[in-house]
Amino acid sequence: MPVLELDPAAVRTARSLARRVGEPIVAMTKEHTTVSVERATLRLAGLAGADPDGTPWANRLLDTVRADVGIECGVCLPVWDALVRGEAGDLAELAAKASVGSVTFRLPKGRDRVRARSAARKAVGVGVRTLDAQRRERERLVKRWGNPAQQPWIYLIVATGDIYEDIVQAQAAAHAGADVIAVIRSTGQSLLDFVPEGATREGYAGTYATQENFRLMRAALDQTSAEVGRYIRLTNYASGLCMPEIAALAGLQRLDMMLNDSMYGILFRDINPVRTFVDQRFSRQVHARAGIIINTGEDNYLTTADAVEAAHTVTVSQLLNESFAKEAGLADWQLGLGHAFEIDPDLPDSFRLELAHALLARTLFPDAPLKWMPPTRHMSGDVFRGYLLDGFFNLAGALTGQGILLVGMMTEAVVTPWLSDRDLALQNVRYVLNACGGLAEDFHPPADGFIATRARQVLAESIDLLERIVARPDPTFGAGLLTAIADGTFGLMKRPADGGRGLDGVVRRADDYLNPAIDMLEPGS
């Protein structure tokens, strides 16, 4: 493992500042729930399917309950009270009846409340035990088929819009050397406040994340894993307005990695910050339980802000993501913290700067499988130059011991990757890993050299920014992360706490709020 000499006191300071920045946010998330957290709970209890118009039963049921009695006490009490009263035989029937107005919900009191709570716990417990069973199944299959022979794991994207076409491409990619397959989502999905249902064959620049699509792709990759003799991991996106539900579906269908960033939705999708943080915590608790590796989205900052000037915002975001993840129960091996090779190649010493930033992340998070993202911003359409740039990106990945390498395409920003583009890209990765995959053990930049000095500078700037965030007055929640986000500190995007999409789905919890899923997923429970 390559190690830079960083001042241990500075590293401790950075971590404790990140924790302090996060504490009021975590406290705030514990005071709120969202429509998506409640729907995810219903899904864990087994509610699936949709009405004839395609609106999921989870949405129909939740909306009715919310209109009748509100969800300040959680959706579970009124729902299982109705089931205990015999209003319907199961959740789907209850949802169907509720959507035509033939069930009236109430907030049960006294013994009725005790009965509803225990019925809800039992039903949600089945889902949580399925997460556990899927985690064990993954461990069994990894043992049987094995992990990739090399580090970093090779991560490839498919994105046809048609799940059946995706399967063909994913299986071909795995045969060609991919260790991780990511199915890119249809661009509009992050702003849908429901999870589409069933297998889908239409999507824009990607394929919808649905429970059935997850199931189909996982089954196909299990078959391919057996053929290639290594466990092929499957990735999707727990982001956007339905992050908690998608996390639950991913756990139920044994997805292996999920893109799941604490601030991405706020900054790049203009989703309300409170909604995002509340949804985030629940989804991370699900991922922790299900043994899913999260991938964070720091690479995105560098697509809008300058990769040298804003290098410390990546480090700050990694520290915050780590802090929020640990608080939600994720272990180090589950933290695919993101960063990217986005420095302008015309800048002198650009590669040395990239190495400094990558090594800083490697040194700060020694046990995390860092996710190394390829150049996009400076891929100009000159595919030949782009191929060289991707080669240097791969070299930096090998040299600095990255955990997950997203394969760069020379046709980035030109076309969706062609068959030949993917083959050339994999040849590029294989050449570099074959030629110098073990170079990390020989690479020890001197403590007084350019790389180590730059890394220390970025760490110092990160601490400085974290201190400024902590010191910032915040009228609502007592600390400054939300105002820092509102001021455009990250990725130059300004997002006020009372703006953005999905705010109407945020509800302050009542004192007697009940959610058995949160009770079971809470670390230490």
Partner: protein
């Protein structure tokens, strides 16, 4: 040779006509595949041609790199392109032109419409950071920039432009799957024509790497900017339309334009 109207591709000698191309055929690698590649490039006008590389890419597919001599001639006198028909101004000159002629700031609203989430293009033009060493529109003191970001619906955009009394609207489209960029832009321009009278309608500009700059009329916009457009080109066009072509209202000391 000066004034030459007929040109050919240049490999290492004037007039040799040499080009290089690569493609994949759904044929297993072998003699048949190589012959098939030569047949294709012959039909493309390459003669003689050499398959310099062939490689199996997955079962039943072969990738080729071919070098060959293109027999076609290029007649420069028949090439039609959209040349910039307005002067390129520095930020200082653009600011001065607006201040002198309109006596108020110009409001520019930008957005990625539809489901397109790629803000790279609009950010490069609008953010103060700019790109290729050139500052974005936010840097121009006389421009008031409202960047709505990604995934803005057309009704939202029209509403916001009305509220902001926008002089110009910049719409960026990167995703081209199923011609989304064309359809989204047409929907946008139609909505603006419906919501505003011809004299009050903001200047409509569409941009994106896959747009053809000669498509403005088809798309219903005033200008299309393609790959490699710089913020100064956009700012200069705004001055040209709003000031030179007098499309913008001039502020009077008492009544400022409001929506």
């Amino acid at each position: 040779m000066s004034g030459a109207q007929i040109v050919r591709p240049y490999g290492d000698t004037t007039g040799d006509g040499m080009v290089q191309t690569s493609f994949t055929l759904p044929v297993s690698n072998g003699k048949l595949a190589e012959g098939a590649a030569l047949q294709l490039v012959a039909k493309m006008g390459l003669d003689p041609a050499m398959v310099v590389h062939s490689r199996s890419v997955g079962e039943g597919y072969t990738f080729f790199v071919v070098y060959g001599r293109a027999g076609h001639l290029v007649d420069l006198s028949e090439v039609r392109v959209v040349e910039r028909d307005y002067p390129l101004l520095s930020p200082k000159e653009a600011n001065l032109a607006i201040r002198n002629a309109l006596r108020r700031r110009v409001t520019v609203v930008g957005a990625c419409i539809g489901t397109d989430a790629h803000t790279v293009g609009i950010d490069a033009i609008m953010n103060i950071k700019g790109f290729a060493g050139e500052k974005g529109l936010e840097y121009y003191r006389e421009l008031r920039v409202v960047n709505l970001g990604a995934q803005v619906s057309v009704p939202q955009l029209v509403e916001r432009c009305t509220a902001e009394a926008a002089d110009a609207v910049l719409v960026s489209q990167v995703v081209t799957q199923r011609d989304a960029h064309v359809l989204n832009t047409q929907e946008m321009s139609a909505a603006f024509r419906e919501a505003f009278s011809a004299s009050r309608r903001p200047v409509l500009i569409a941009g994106g790497p896959r747009f053809d700059e000669s498509m403005a009329a088809d798309l219903g916009v005033d200008r299309v900017f393609g790959r490699g457009t710089t913020p100064a080109e956009v700012a200069s066009f705004l001055v040209h339309e709003l000031v030179t072509n007098r499309r913008a209202a001039v502020a009077t000391p008492r009544a400022r334009r409001s929506a």
